[in-house]
């Protein structure tokens, strides 16, 4: 895109906006126009949640993620447990068995030591529960006002079993789309506790490590093409990415997508679409049609996949486009948002 040939009043790319971190089209634009041209290589260009590299015959999955969640503590988790789950899940979406984590803390001057202790204890508990070890780390402290209390970066390393090749560019027409459970819980739990948003909500974050669910899935079905955890930007952004990377169309059935009543209530109140709200303990699987039934059965036997449903299928035509059959039987697009969803005025 050439800004000079485009007679629009505003270009968004002369300065970084919050929306550039939202997982929507603005994030994709950063990737396409700044990061990929500088770093492009065959591993990175796959654009999966993790990179898979072969070193001396061993297939290693590597991923990194930074956590800047506010507030630090929320119903169902905190920044410590989230920084384990997020990275473990990015490894798991490549079919990898997560083994090790590195943890880097960026602390803001003035942060109570007790807060750090609580976060570290939670991070350690989550790592132990997930069976991953924290093997190295780093600490930096920035001046008051240069950070927001506490940021964490974790890098994860895992091993990908032989024969497992999952990637968002492998969806084919006819494949089924499976979602592991109800959506929107993490985003609403966070929103409910944000400053200025005064509504009480019983919604807990779904933050969880999904690698044991993935292991059960890989054992049950060989025809899994792609796994993704729909975090920032929600299910819609994840499916749009898969549709674009595989150059296919995805057709969803609105009736098959589960939203818990308390999440639906909060979304109605705030004017948000749950399809765009973040999850931290759910996954989307694209699977060959003949393997859909056994996979679904295996997922439902696992506590983190008990609510799994087939929510749609991969089709030909309109590559990169996601559409949905609504509850009324009509058809609509499920677009990727530019930035964050903004609450409507009325």
């Amino acid at each position: 895109m050439n800004a000079l040939s485009c007679p629009v009043p505003l270009r968004l790319k002369d300065q970084i906006l919050l929306g550039h971190g939202s997982g929507g089209t603005l994030s994709a634009e950063l990737m396409r126009e700044i990061f990929l041209p500088s770093f492009s290589n065959p591993v990175l260009d796959c654009l999966d949640d993790q990179a898979v590299v072969t070193i001396n015959g061993a297939r290693l999955a590597v991923t990194t993620d930074s956590f800047v969640v506010k507030p630090l503590f929320f119903k169902g988790g905190d920044i410590g447990s989230l920084s384990v789950h997020g990275t473990v899940n990015d490894l798991a979406m490549g079919g990898a068995t997560p083994l090790y984590l590195t943890v880097a803390f960026i602390l803001e001057e003035g942060l109570p030591t007790e807060t750090l202790r609580r976060v570290v204890a939670s991070l350690a508990r989550a790592a132990e529960a997930a069976g991953v070890r924290v093997i190295t780390g780093d600490t930096k402290v920035v001046e008051k006002g240069s950070g927001d209390g506490l940021f964490i970066n974790t890098t994860g390393i895992g091993v990908v079993p032989d024969g497992v090749h999952l990637s968002a560019n492998q969806a084919r027409p006819g494949d089924r789309v499976i979602l592991s459970g109800s959506i929107g819980e993490h985003g609403i739990a966070i929103l409910a506790e944000r400053e200025g948003l005064e509504f009480e909500s019983p919604v807990e974050s779904d933050s969880a490590a999904l690698h044991t669910l993935v292991a059960a899935m890989l054992a049950a079905a060989r025809g899994i093409r792609c796994l993704r955890d729909p975090t920032r930007g929600g299910v819609s952004s994840t499916l749009n990415e898969i549709a674009q990377q595989s150059q296919v169309s995805i057709r969803l059935d609105e009736r098959a997508i589960t939203v818990r009543p308390e999440v639906e209530g909060a979304c109605e109140l705030l004017g948000l679409d749950p399809l765009y709200v973040a999850n931290e303990g759910k996954l989307v699987a694209i699977v060959a049609p003949e393997d859909a039934a056994p996979l679904l059965e295996a997922m439902r036997r696992h506590p983190l996949g008990a609510g799994a449903q087939i929510i749609g299928s991969v089709t030909e035509g309109n590559p990169g486009m996601v559409t949905m059959r609504t509850v009324l039987g009509t058809s609509r697009m499920v677009d990727m948002l530019a930035g964050d969803q903004l609450p409507r005025i009325c």
Partner: protein, 365 residues
């Protein structure tokens, strides 16, 4: 969920569609006023369900969209000042003024905060006595009572560091402009349910009688809209032009009288420029002179400015129902929600944005 599920019920929707198919004998053009209704129509594909003879065109009822460029520029000017905390509803932040938007002001270090009610701004003002706190009070009649109450409360508390940039717009004058236009095609209106929750629908009775046009006060769920469309078709087919209320669970004829009283105390009617349409006399509310100390335009001594719209934008035609969004050459190409050229692409509830978000597949295929 109660009050949601039954209004999205496919069987009830189907029954209404079948009823309509029996009612309709010739083509009719209907307009929903409110952007929330446009959003529902597109999200649920209601225009696909109803009989082909019934054409839906989309009205100017998206408050974010119709807020004049000049007002957005004023907001940006105020929000850029280092002594100001600027508080706004979330969806105003992305609205482009002539050279920037509030998100960018925030990116450049301006203290711009999103609120869900204007009372949050008062709370911020109390907590920051050394800063000037300004609330961006936009919207139709729906948001006016809360804004009025906030100013009233601020005055009662003697808050000296709180003010409002007011740009309220009113629905009935806009309907009058549409109906007075020689190019008007609209034969029946779905009146905005939320606005009528506050104001009731007596004003619409006058419009229905004067212009001999049926008006049905409608809700915002798919079944609400199907029922409202069906009621309009019935009136048109029978030659009636009355005001009927579909949204009985929320709207009464007189509306919310205490809310109207507080609005009356704080605001007075004034001319207002609508983005994409132009000046409409007596189509807005501004603060009464006795609340001048809370009027951000006066507090910051902002002068009147005049800003032209991009010439390629056909929003005036879209907002009057004369063109559909995808009939615009810029639609989806040079005009997108990321880079809107004009009002209806700006907010999720604008007609162009709703088509862009939910309907590109029908245009593409």
């Amino acid at each position: 969920m109660k009050y949601i599920d039954e209004y999205r019920d496919p069987q009830i929707a189907q029954a209404l569609v079948q009823k309509m198919a029996k009612q309709v004998t010739r083509p009719w053009v209907l307009m929903e006023i409110c952007g929330g209704q446009t959003h529902t129509l597109m999200r649920y594909g209601i225009d696909e369900l109803i009989p082909k003879q019934v054409e839906l065109v989309h009205g100017p009822g998206c408050p974010v969209c119709v807020t004049a460029l000049e007002v957005v520029d004023k907001a940006i000017e105020i929000a850029s000042r280092p002594d100001v905390i600027f508080v706004s509803y979330g969806d105003m932040l992305r609205v482009p003024g002539s050279s920037s938007d509030l998100f960018r002001v925030k990116g450049q270090g301006g203290d711009v905060r999103i609120a869900y009610t204007p009372m949050e701004a008062v709370k911020i003002a109390r907590a920051n006595p050394d800063r000037k706190v300004v609330f961006f009070a936009i919207g139709f009649e729906t948001t006016a009572p809360a804004n009025a109450m906030t100013v009233w409360q601020a005055r009662r508390e003697g808050l000296r560091n709180f003010s409002m940039l007011v740009s309220h717009v009113l629905v009935p004058p806009a309907i009058r402009v549409l109906l007075d236009s020689p190019a008007n095609r609209v034969q029946g209106f779905i009146a905005p349910g939320h606005v009528c929750t506050v104001m009731g629908y007596r004003d619409y009775e006058e419009l229905a009688a004067r212009y001999h046009v049926p008006i049905v006060v409608g809700g915002f769920e798919p079944v609400d809209l199907l029922e409202a469309i069906s009621m309009l078709v019935a009136q048109l087919e029978e030659g009636r032009a009355e005001v009927e209320n579909q949204y009985v669970r929320a709207v009464s004829r007189d509306g919310n009288l205490p809310a109207q009283r507080i609005v009356e105390q704080v605001f007075e009617t004034a001319g207002r420029k609508w983005r994409g349409i132009g000046n409409i006399p007596m189509s807005g509310w501004r603060l009464r002179p006795e609340f001048a100390a809370f009027d951000a335009e006066k507090v910051f001594g902002l002068s009147e400015i005049e800003v032209p719209e991009p010439p390629e934008c056909i929003s005036a035609l879209v907002l009057q129902g004369l063109k559909k969004p995808f009939e615009c050459t810029a639609f989806g190409v040079r005009c997108t929600p990321e880079n809107p050229l004009g009002a209806p692409m700006v907010s999720a509830e604008g007609a162009c944005a709703a088509y862009y978000r939910y309907r590109r597949h029908t245009v593409a295929s």
